[in-house]
Structures are given as structure tokens and as C-alpha cells.
């Protein structure tokens, strides 16, 4: 373990308390102490129901919550804090866009274009919207190594394409899509782009203005924050026009017996008591990541992807999915092992205290397209070490023997 490894790992209490070799960060990240402390501090020193109370403590809670919103806005370079809606996670954010924007803006004959590599959370809402509105759901396919080029997208859009749903970083290939070019293509057709940033925000700097996306969804728990807080960036003009997604407390202006007028953006999308503790944790997570710096995060994760792919390439029975270049993996190395089902791989690795994901990774149409129905996935965070990578690959190489091959 290097000095840097030690320094970083010391920030994460779980590595002190549990000896699991955790290689499932794309499912959820571990949490640094500063995040856990921030949540605790909020509940110990500033907790009241935000946005409602007319007393100092509630105003402090409101300030904590709204400061967190500003921190998120700065992190993704949104023009203003009001562009950020807090949600539970990326799935809820994408559902918000589908129910509020999609249901009201799409109509029969329109087309929704979804990339084949989407997580189910950026596919199922669009299936629903298309069924309800009569819009047509279309897919744009990548090649078998996960490359989705602007030319492929250009060829798949037409004048009826009103919405493009696509992920920034794939949770299966780990590749990064050229969102900026995709946005330009769909904007030229008069449509909008809904980007799933869940696997991007933890690994690379994201700038919504540079990308020129209309919506960007993300989950806090994949980027060091607690579970149950996530967000949606939305273009101001779109958010203004959209009706609320859920109805209830603190999202209104005036309510009569029959009707209501709604609060300003973003509050009209945040019905009910909000997750202020989670938002405070998300703010601390962003501050922690900024402290480490994306330069360090990318350097470390690239080194882990590189070593993992090199070691796996030494075994003819291990097959890595996606780009040959480790730089296009963002810590995600999805693989198969000849003759062994991925669920058996994960179960046998568990015997050696190694935690990886196996299955369809919530991307069944993609796996079907790749000609498999299951794969194993190692996903690294910057807190993993090269020694852990070596242990993983060595353990994977022993599996076939254990299964009698």
C-alpha cells in the first residue's frame, strides 16, 4: 500500500471496521468520515423542518439545505442553484423528467431515442411515457465494444425525434459518451437531451453548460454521499414550464378548496419534507472530492483499470467487455469467465471476502444485444489499491479450477 493509499483509506471508517475487499463502487460508493460527521452535525446542531419554520433553528436548517444546493450547482457548473432539484436518486430524477416533462410535452408521432446502453432507470420511464402518449420509442445501438459515436446518433435521429435519453458514463462498459456532440445533434432537430450522470459525477468533472444538456440526473450514494439524496439539473426555461411531479407540502403558493398555484422552481418539485441531512452529506461529499481533486481521482482509477485489464489479459479464459483502452473504463471492468456463470463467480469471490457485482447490471437490453444475459463487474473507486486488484484477479483465475475445469 502506498502512502497515498493509506492516507485516503484512513478517511473511510468502513475499511477500518470491515475487511471486505470492496470492488463494487459503481453500485454504491463507500462514505468518508467527513460525510458521516456532516450528517450527524446537521442533526445535532441544525435540525428543524427546513423552509417552513419562522424561527432561528428552522432558518438554520433551511440555510444548510440551500447551501448544499449551491454546492451541487457549482460542482456541475449550473448557471444557478435553482437549476438543481433535490431527489432521492438518479432514478427519481429521471422519473421526474419523464412524468413532468415527457407526459406533458410528447405526443403521438413524436419519437424518443434511447441508447441501448442505458440503465433501466433511463429506459423504463421512457417506455411508460411512450405507451401513455403514443410517442414511439427507438433505440440507437453502440458497437460491441461500447462505442457510440455522434455519427451513429446522427443517423438515428430525424425531425420527429423530440428527446434523446443517454448516459454520460456507462455502468457496464465504463465508457464515456460524447454528450456535447449528442446534445448539438438533438438540439438541431429541435429536441432535448436527458443525460444520466450517475456514473459520471463520481469519476470525472461534469459541466452542464459545456455539455449543453437539458437535464442531468445523478445519485448521491454513488459519489460518497448517503443513500436517499440525489439530484436533477434542469434547464431553467424547461423547469419553469413543467408541472409538479409530486404534490403535497411546501410546493405551493396558494391553495384553495379546489386548486393551488405552485411554488417557484425548484421547490415545486420538492413536495413534502426534504432530505436536508442527506443534502448536507452530499455537500460534504463534494467538498471531500474537491479536496482530493479529479486529477488524483482519475489518475488512481485509471491505474486500477489498467492493472486489472493487464492482469486479466494474461488469462485466456477471462474476457473484458468494452473498450480495449483502460482510459475509457472509469474504474469499471466488466468481464466474463469461460464456463462459469457470473453469479457463481461472485459467490466464490465472496468466500475470499471480495465483493463484486454479477448479473445484468440493470441493463438487460444491452446484455441481450451483447449476446449474454449476465456478466461480472469489478468497479473501483479511488480508495481501492493495486494490491486489491491483484487479489481480485488472482482469485478470479482460481475459480475455474474450483468449478472442476
Amino acid at each position: 500500500m502506498t502512502e497515498e493509499d493509506k492516507r485516503i483509506r484512513a478517511d473511510f471508517p468502513i475499511f477500518e471496521n470491515d475487511n471486505t475487499i470492496y470492488i463494487d463502487t459503481a453500485a454504491t460508493s463507500q462514505k468518508p468520515l467527513s460525510v458521516l460527521d456532516a450528517v450527524r452535525d446537521y442533526y445535532e446542531n441544525a435540525n428543524a423542518n427546513p423552509l417552513r419554520g419562522l424561527y432561528d433553528l428552522s432558518m438554520r436548517a433551511t440555510e444548510c439545505y440551500e447551501t448544499a444546493r449551491s454546492t451541487v450547482a457549482e460542482f456541475v457548473n449550473a448557471p444557478a442553484a435553482e437549476n438543481i432539484v433535490f431527489t432521492r436518486n438518479a432514478s427519481e430524477s429521471l422519473n421526474l423528467v419523464a412524468y413532468s416533462y415527457g407526459m406533458n410535452s410528447l405526443k403521438e408521432g413524436d419519437e424518443v431515442l434511447v441508447s441501448i446502453m442505458e440503465h433501466h432507470s433511463n429506459l423504463l420511464p421512457w417506455q411508460l411515457v411512450c405507451r401513455a402518449t403514443g410517442a414511439v420509442l427507438k433505440f440507437v445501438e453502440c458497437d460491441k465494444e461500447g462505442h457510440l459515436t455522434p455519427e451513429m446518433v446522427e443517423a438515428a435521429v430525424n425531425d420527429r425525434t423530440k428527446l434523446l435519453a443517454v448516459t454520460y458514463v456507462s455502468n457496464v462498459f465504463g465508457c464515456r459518451n460524447d454528450i456535447k456532440s449528442f446534445a448539438e445533434i438533438i438540439h438541431n432537430k429541435g429536441g432535448i437531451i436527458v443525460c444520466d450522470g450517475a456514473q459520471a459525477l463520481p469519476h470525472i468533472p461534469v459541466d452542464v453548460q459545456e455539455l449543453n444538456v437539458d437535464f442531468l440526473a445523478f445519485s448521491g450514494h454513488k459519489m460518497l454521499a448517503p443513500m436517499g439524496i440525489g439530484g436533477l439539473y434542469g434547464r431553467q426555461s424547461l423547469l419553469e414550464e413543467m408541472p409538479p411531479f409530486m404534490y403535497g407540502g411546501e410546493m405551493i403558493e396558494i391553495v384553495t378548496r379546489e386548486s393551488a398555484t405552485y411554488a417557484e422552481v425548484p421547490h415545486k418539485f420538492e413536495a413534502g419534507t426534504v432530505n436536508a441531512g442527506g443534502a448536507v452529506g452530499l455537500k460534504a461529499a463534494i467538498e471531500y472530492m474537491n479536496g482530493i481533486g479529479f486529477e488524483t481521482i482519475e489518475r488512481r482509477e485509471n491505474a486500477l483499470s489498467k492493472l486489472c485489464m493487464e492482469l486479466m489479459a494474461e488469462d485466456e479464459h477471462i474476457h473484458v467487455i468494452g473498450d480495449k483502452d483502460y482510459v475509457n473504463h472509469h474504474g469499471i471492468v466488466t468481464f466474463t469467465l469461460d464456463d462459469v456463470h457470473p453469479h457463481d463467480i461472485a459467490a466464490i469471490l465472496n468466500d475470499e471476502n471480495i465483493a463484486i457485482r454479477a448479473g445484468h447490471h440493470c441493463a438487460q437490453p444491452l446484455l441481450k444485444y451483447l449476446g449474454t444475459n449476465s456478466t461480472a463487474r469489478a468497479s473501483f473507486g479511488f480508495y481501492n489499491t493495486e494490491d486489491e486488484v491483484r487479489q481480485l484477479v488472482a482469485a478470479v483465475r482460481r475459480i475455474r479450477g474450483k468449478m472442476g475445469y
Binding site: V340, H341, P342, H343, D344, A347, I348, N350, D351, G359, H360, L367, N373, S374, K402, M403, G404, Y405
Partner: protein
């Protein structure tokens, strides 16, 4: 926790299954799918006068799903439909962790899957073949 069930009996049934092949003359055929793993089997049984005279399965999936189906067929071929359903009830109860030693004996090799009860994510793999048999008999009943 050690997976005691990844032993020779299981790997042998997975690598060299006796009953994994196409079958002609089946009068009960049903596909069973476990979406979490992507396990997919098609179970075929030939039943004459309520006795299972032959059986086979095809498909793919994890070692547990495949070996479990193979061990089930070992156990039920030659037995009556009611006896097969009785054994399947014992097997499914074993996976929930509630059987006697005598009942486990009756399951023969399939008894090695007892520890699956501690791995909720794998339960569906182990019971796939058995559920499929249950369903096919109950459907036609």
C-alpha cells in the same frame, strides 16, 4: 461465509449433467426463468399412469440452478407425480431452513443445497427446477 455447496457433487452435476439434453415424447414441458440471474431452463417430463418415466432439461444459468435441476431429475425419475411433489415440498422447505434430518436424507444429493438458505440472492437459482416442476403439475391438474 464459506459456500460449502460449491463442492464436488455440485460441480460434477454442473459440468457433466446426466439429464441435460433434448427429449422426445415428453407430455409435460415448461420453461422456468429466474430474471435476477438470467437462469433459464426448460423442463421436460414424460409421465405415464402418474409415474415420471423419463425427464430432461435444457437451458443455461449458474451452476446452482443447473446442478439443482439435474439432482432433482435424478431424484424424481421413476417416482409418482405425488411423490415428486412431496419431495419438492421438502426441498423448498429446506431452502427456507425448516426440515428434519430424515427429510434431508430423502432428498439425497439435493440435500447439499441446504446452506443456500443463508444466501437469499441465490435461493431463486436453487429452486428454479423444482418450482418449474411444481408449476407444470399444478397447471395441468
Amino acid at each position: 461465509m464459506a459456500n460449502t455447496f460449491y463442492n464436488e457433487i455440485l460441480t460434477e452435476h454442473n459440468m457433466h449433467p446426466i439429464h441435460k439434453h433434448p427429449m422426445e415424447g415428453a407430455n409435460f414441458v415448461l420453461q422456468g426463468v429466474n430474471p435476477t440471474c438470467g437462469d433459464d431452463i426448460t423442463l421436460s417430463l414424460k409421465v405415464e399412469n402418474d409415474v415420471i418415466v423419463d425427464g430432461a432439461y435444457e437451458g443455461d444459468g449458474c451452476a446452482i440452478s443447473q446442478a439443482s435441476a439435474d439432482m432433482m431429475l435424478d431424484l424424481i425419475i421413476g417416482k409418482s407425480k405425488d411423490e415428486a411433489l412431496r419431495l419438492s415440498e421438502i426441498f423448498l422447505r429446506m431452502i427456507k431452513g425448516k426440515i428434519t434430518d430424515e427429510e434431508k436424507e430423502e432428498l439425497e444429493e439435493a440435500g447439499i443445497l441446504e446452506d443456500i438458505s443463508h444466501m437469499p440472492a441465490r435461493v431463486k437459482c436453487a429452486v428454479l427446477g423444482w418450482h418449474t416442476m411444481d408449476e407444470m403439475f399444478k397447471k395441468k391438474a
